[in-house]
């Protein structure tokens, strides 16, 4: 059974690779390369896979899940400038793909026993989102 919890965080970023020319940055990242950055209201949907516990009837304690999401993601990324304040985005470009991969990397170690992290879906905007399942 899959359970999904949704959290939101707001952060600023810019997508600019220092090794690329201005023209190449503009061609790849468009307005997201503007040098002073911009922001998004990110929406994160985290899905866990497991069986309901026969006693509690729960796949996973949602309070614990909330705490993990707050500790690993919201406290770290909310109201931050990703490039300047949230490693590894000091060295890799915080595209929505890379932010989703980093979220997976942070969350996955917490779900090793009864449940597994199944999918991370990250909306950068309502019209652009990625799914990453650790592969």
């Amino acid at each position: 059974m899959l359970i999904t919890r949704k959290v939101e965080f707001s952060a600023s970023h810019l997508c600019y690779h220092p090794g690329f020319s201005e023209e190449r940055n503009r061609a790849i990242y468009g307005a997201a390369a503007n040098k002073h950055g911009h922001g998004h209201n990110y929406i994160l949907e985290v899905s866990l896979d497991g069986a309901p516990d026969p006693v509690t009837g729960m796949v996973f304690d949602l309070k614990t899940l909330k705490d993990v999401l707050n500790q690993e993601i919201v406290d770290v990324m909310d109201h931050r400038f990703l490039n300047y304040e949230v490693p590894p985005f000091d060295t890799i470009v915080p595209t929505v793909e890379n932010v989703a991969i980093e979220i997976w990397r942070r969350l996955e170690p917490h779900f090793k026993e009864k449940v597994r992290l199944k999918n991370v879906r990250l909306y950068e905007t309502e019209d652009l989102y990625v799914d990453y399942a650790g592969q």
């Binding site: 997508c15 690779h17 090794g19 061609a27 790849i28 468009g30 590894p88 060295t91 890799i92 470009v93 915080p94 595209t95 929505v96 793909e97 890379n98 989703a100 991969i101 980093e102 997976w104 990397r105 309502e126 019209d127 652009l128 989102y129 990625v130 799914d131 990453y132 399942a133 650790g134 592969q135």
Partner: protein, 154 residues
């Protein structure tokens, strides 16, 4: 640099267009059309604000942090879908629906998949992002009616 492997990322992009259609088959009687399509068979048609969700799938290009060039995808969708479909009458204006194919949203999803898949290789031919594949088309005809088709393109 994260050491997490990232060979399989799915990225979805949403687009919107408004169009009218009429669900009616000349191969069926009036009674049959009414029974099958209900109000959707009314003679002058009706319209929807369609939400098109195009999902692509591929490996991360570690240098750019992307799996696809979004501008190329937007251009492809604009040229092959949004341009011709926006404010169109699907039955009249879209060649695929001018003969016997009823513009149900099932068929609309298949037509859109076919159009995108047909152009895919020529638009996404150059490295480093040439490994991205069309994965799925999802259309919301209304908030309550949603249709998905996996792409047959490989």
């Amino acid at each position: 640099m994260s050491t997490t492997p990232a060979n399989d990322i799915r990225l979805s992009r949403r687009y919107r267009f408004s169009a009218s259609h009429r669900l009616y088959s000349d191969e069926l009687s009036e009674t049959e059309n009414r029974a099958i399509f209900g109000k959707c068979a009314n003679p002058y048609g009706h319209g929807h604000d369609y939400v098109l969700d195009v999902r692509v799938r591929g490996p991360l290009d570690r240098e750019t942090g992307r799996i696809i060039d979004l501008d190329t995808l937007d251009t492809l969708v604009r040229e092959t879908i949004l341009g011709p479909f926006e404010h169109s009458n699907l039955n009249v204006d879209i060649p695929e629906f001018q003969s016997s194919l009823v513009p149900t949203t099932e068929n609309l999803a298949l037509v859109i998949e076919h159009r995108l898949a047909g152009e895919w290789k020529s638009r996404f031919a150059s490295p480093p992002l040439e490994r991205v594949k069309l994965d799925r088309i999802k259309i919301e005809e209304t908030r309550r009616n949603i249709f998905e088709v996996s792409s047959s393109y490989e």
